[in-house]
């Protein structure tokens, strides 16, 4: 369970996150949506104890992110948007290293790394012998996702997890997270790929200019707004006016 109350973040004069409050029950997949610069990643970084909030509180499974950051970090897994890894390590070495940071026994870590490798179709020689610098972007992203799930977290935060994954890997991944949710994991899913969010998430929270502008089940939001797709709902809530007309006009001006 995630409980967020009045979470606020200021960077100097700029209000990046403005008194955001929501709760996510155990086993739910919630989509955190918003246009670029809306404050999604800032919220994710505060929820995972990476960034100090200016005000407000956040609790993960009853643990306060500010007061018990280590306990929170033990029960959460994060796939950061950056997808950065130590590229001079092999995939196996990197995962073993992350497992060590989470104090996982070595034999158990090796067994789990093998299982993740098999699931993501990363064969053992590749994992063991090739440095991450030699991996494709998609292969590296698979390692980043595996690193977030290795310690079997109860709450998982994905920030643009499908970045670089091919269609098959993306399909496996979507099945994986719905299964994880069914087994009691709470999942926060940030993405700009709205049709995926529509299919995977039971509920979406839309952030615009640091504040929540919509929060509800996907079907309910569609019904409330009378729009046919989540993309249109998102566009209505967050886009500047006459977006399509302006795009057409601009394209014509370029051509002329």
């Amino acid at each position: 369970m995630i409980e967020v109350e009045g979470l606020t973040k200021r960077f100097g004069d700029q209000l990046a996150v403005d008194h955001v409050s929501f709760a996510v029950p155990t086993g739910q997949i919630v989509g955190l949506l918003g246009p670029n610069g809306a404050g999604k990643t800032t919220i994710v970084r505060m929820l995972s104890g990476q960034l100090l909030p200016s005000a407000g509180t956040a609790r993960m499974l009853g643990l306060d992110v500010l007061r018990e950051p280590l306990a929170v970090k033990r029960v959460i897994g994060v796939v950061p948007e950056s997808g950065a890894v130590f590229e001079s390590l092999t995939g196996w070495e990197y995962l073993a290293f992350v497992a060590a940071l989470h104090q996982l026994p070595e034999a158990e870590a090796a067994e789990r790394i093998g299982r993740f490798g098999a699931f993501f179709e990363l064969d053992e020689p590749t994992l063991r012998e090739k440095p991450l610098a030699a991996y494709s972007k998609g292969m590296r992203q698979k390692v980043v996702i595996a690193a977030a799930l290795l310690h079997n977290p109860k709450v998982i935060i994905f920030d643009e997890p499908l970045s670089g994954l091919d269609a098959n890997a993306a399909l496996s991944f979507k099945t994986l997270i719905t299964t994880l949710a069914r087994e009691g994991r709470t999942i926060v899913y940030c993405s700009h790929i709205l049709d995926v969010v529509e299919r995977v998430c039971e509920r979406v929270i839309v952030i615009h200019r640091g504040a929540i502008v919509a929060d509800g089940e996907v079907a309910a939001l569609l019904a409330q707004t009378g729009e046919p797709t989540l993309e249109r709902v998102f566009n209505r809530l967050t886009a500047t006016e006459n977006l399509l007309e302006r795009a057409e006009e601009f394209a014509r001006a370029l051509g002329g």
Partner: protein, 542 residues
């Protein structure tokens, strides 16, 4: 790809100037990124701190002008020391400036000729070298007026000589990389580039160290060794000082000065035009095909399993062990770190044996230098291991449930002590035994340095929160910090090394070692206490 026709060798100077402007802006802005830690951030920008350091360095160096030296000898000394500073600093950042494979994603598909790209990169490196040359010589060029026979316009001429020297150093580094990229296959490139860098550094150190030893009279009176001195680049630029701002009258000197200018121009032209096509293609190769490890044989795997078991016995904490392995991997495989670290280590190994070359081999000096080198290695290596091109990946330390950064620091520290300091000590001991024809007293004489290495290795974490590989490369900062650490360590360790030699001569090495052990333990405890106070990994505030 880029082809090899005349167009690929033509420099579009306007485009090169635009690229240079962007490179300079990026290197200035880069200094504000990185993993924020408990260390207080200085208000003074990194490049300004670095330049200030080199100005002070120059101040100390320039004071020899008041020792009654003639213009040529003074110029030779100042430019020789500047050569060391410029060459160390430029080769330290060269891989970052010349071989940044990530920029290929931005530039590879743009209409930029290989020669233009290389010219912009070389100019970027040259600006850096010129900055160091200017800062290092800012005061010595005026102090030079006190040298014997100096004319009133000495500062202007010396500024020109320092500028040419900086361009020569940059050109030599660019040429080295160009040749390596032209002739060395991709899979051997990392190792070859590191070896090339080591050779270049050793060449500079050997030159500057052997110059004084080659003379029959006083240390700095060099003119008698003319014939071979003419082959040493520093001489060409010192000759410019003497020919134009000294008593002059020697046509040979003017010839040497001209040769310096011509060689500098030739080195640049060769590097930027002739080698540019191969450089561009190899650069793309660096981005496309990063080094692949060869499958390990069964014997190697067995050995590695044995090492892992030994490591588990030595380092019980899994996080510490993880950090040890992380540092070990970067020391062996990461091009940037290898090229920064190993040339420095090579200097530490080379300097002491140089003291054995000359008219009277000096074993005492060998031992003092070996001791200094060994005690300085840990902080300098740890400084290098704090930065990486993959600094963004250090986010994992903020996400992981770590109470503080101490286990990470200890793991890296042990990798440095076990992977660098002990092998270097063994190598120096071997050289010492050879030089003294098997005098076993050399071995206990190295102990004082080994005793000081563990507390010295705590220095970086005592000064700030140390998180490995968490900082982007800050041009000018690492080498400045490295040089500052070396000078600080010299001030502290030199008296200890001298005292150790004195004790050994008097047959009192054992009580000296006991006293030093007590001092080392005290230092260790104090530095550990400081390091623990700074070790918390806090959530970022921005």
């Amino acid at each position: 790809m880029s082809g090899s026709g005349p167009e690929t060798r033509r420099v579009d100077w306007r485009q090169a100037a635009t690229l240079l402007g962007v490179y300079l802006r990026l290197s200035l802005r880069r200094s504000s990124r990185g993993f924020a830690t408990l260390a207080s951030r200085s208000r003074v920008p990194g490049p300004a701190q670095a330049l200030a350091f080199y100005v002070v360095f120059g101040l100390l160096m320039g004071t020899v002008a008041f020792a009654g030296l003639d213009v040529f000898t003074y110029a030779l000394f100042v430019l020789g020391t500047s050569l060391f500073a410029i060459m160390s600093a430029t080769s330290f950042v060269a891989a970052d400036v010349l071989l940044n494979p990530e920029e290929g994603e931005v530039l590879d598909f743009r209409p930029i000729s290989p020669a233009t790209l290389l010219a912009a990169k070389a100019a970027n490196l040259a600006v850096f070298g010129l900055g160091i040359a200017a800062a290092t010589n800012a005061l010595p060029m005026f102090f030079g007026l006190a040298a014997r026979g100096a004319r009133p316009w000495f500062p202007l001429v010396h500024a020109l000589a320092a500028l040419l020297l900086a361009l020569f150093c940059t050109g030599a580094v660019v040429l080295l990389y160009g040749l390596l990229m032209r002739f060395v296959p991709r899979r051997h490139f990392e190792r070859a580039a590191t070896l090339g860098q080591i050779a270049l550094t050793l060449g500079v150190v050997a030159t500057t160290q052997l110059l004084p030893r080659a003379t029959p009279e006083t240390t700095l009176s060099l003119r008698r060794a003319w014939a071979w001195l003419a082959l040493v680049p520093v001489t060409w630029f010192a000759a410019l000082d003497e020919a134009l701002a000294g008593p002059g009258g020697d046509r040979g000197l003017l010839g040497l000065a001209l040769a310096g200018g011509l060689v500098t121009a030739g080195v640049f032209a060769l590097a930027v035009t002739r080698l540019a096509p191969a450089f561009r293609e190899s650069l793309s190769g660096l981005a496309e095909r990063p080094a692949l490890a060869h499958p390990r044989r069964a014997a190697a795997r067995g050995r590695s399993a044995g090492l892992e078991a030994a490591l588990r016995l030595w380092i019980r904490d899994p996080v510490e062990r993880g950090a040890f392995l992380l540092a070990g991997a970067y020391l062996r495989r990461d091009r940037e770190i290898m090229m920064r670290l190993w040339p420095g280590v090579a200097v530490i190994v080379l300097l002491p044996p140089l003291s054995l070359i000359g008219r009277e081999p000096d074993v005492s000096q060998f031992l003092v230098l070996a001791s200094l080198g060994l005690s300085m290695t840990p902080p300098v290596a740890l400084e290098i291991l704090e930065s990486s091109a993959h600094w963004g990946a250090a986010e994992v330390f903020r996400i992981a449930p770590l109470p503080d950064a101490m286990p990470l620091f200890h793991g890296v520290r042990k990798a440095v002590l076990g992977g660098i300091v002990l092998p270097v000590a063994a190598l120096l001991a071997g050289i010492g035994l050879l030089a003294t024809r098997g005098d076993w007293r050399v071995l206990p004489a190295l102990l004082p340095a080994l005793l000081l290495a563990p507390p010295a290795s705590l220095l970086p974490a005592a000064l700030r929160t140390y998180v490995p590989l968490s900082q982007p490369s800050r041009r000018g900062m690492q080498e400045t910090r490295g040089l500052a650490l070396v000078l600080t360590a010299l001030l502290v360790l030199f008296p200890i090394a001298l005292a150790a030699r004195w004790a050994e001569h008097r047959g009192r090495l054992a009580p000296f070692l006991a006293a030093e052990l007590a001092l080392a333990v005290g230092l260790h405890v104090a530095l550990l206490w400081l390091a623990r106070r700074r070790a918390r990994i806090l959530p970022a505030e921005e």
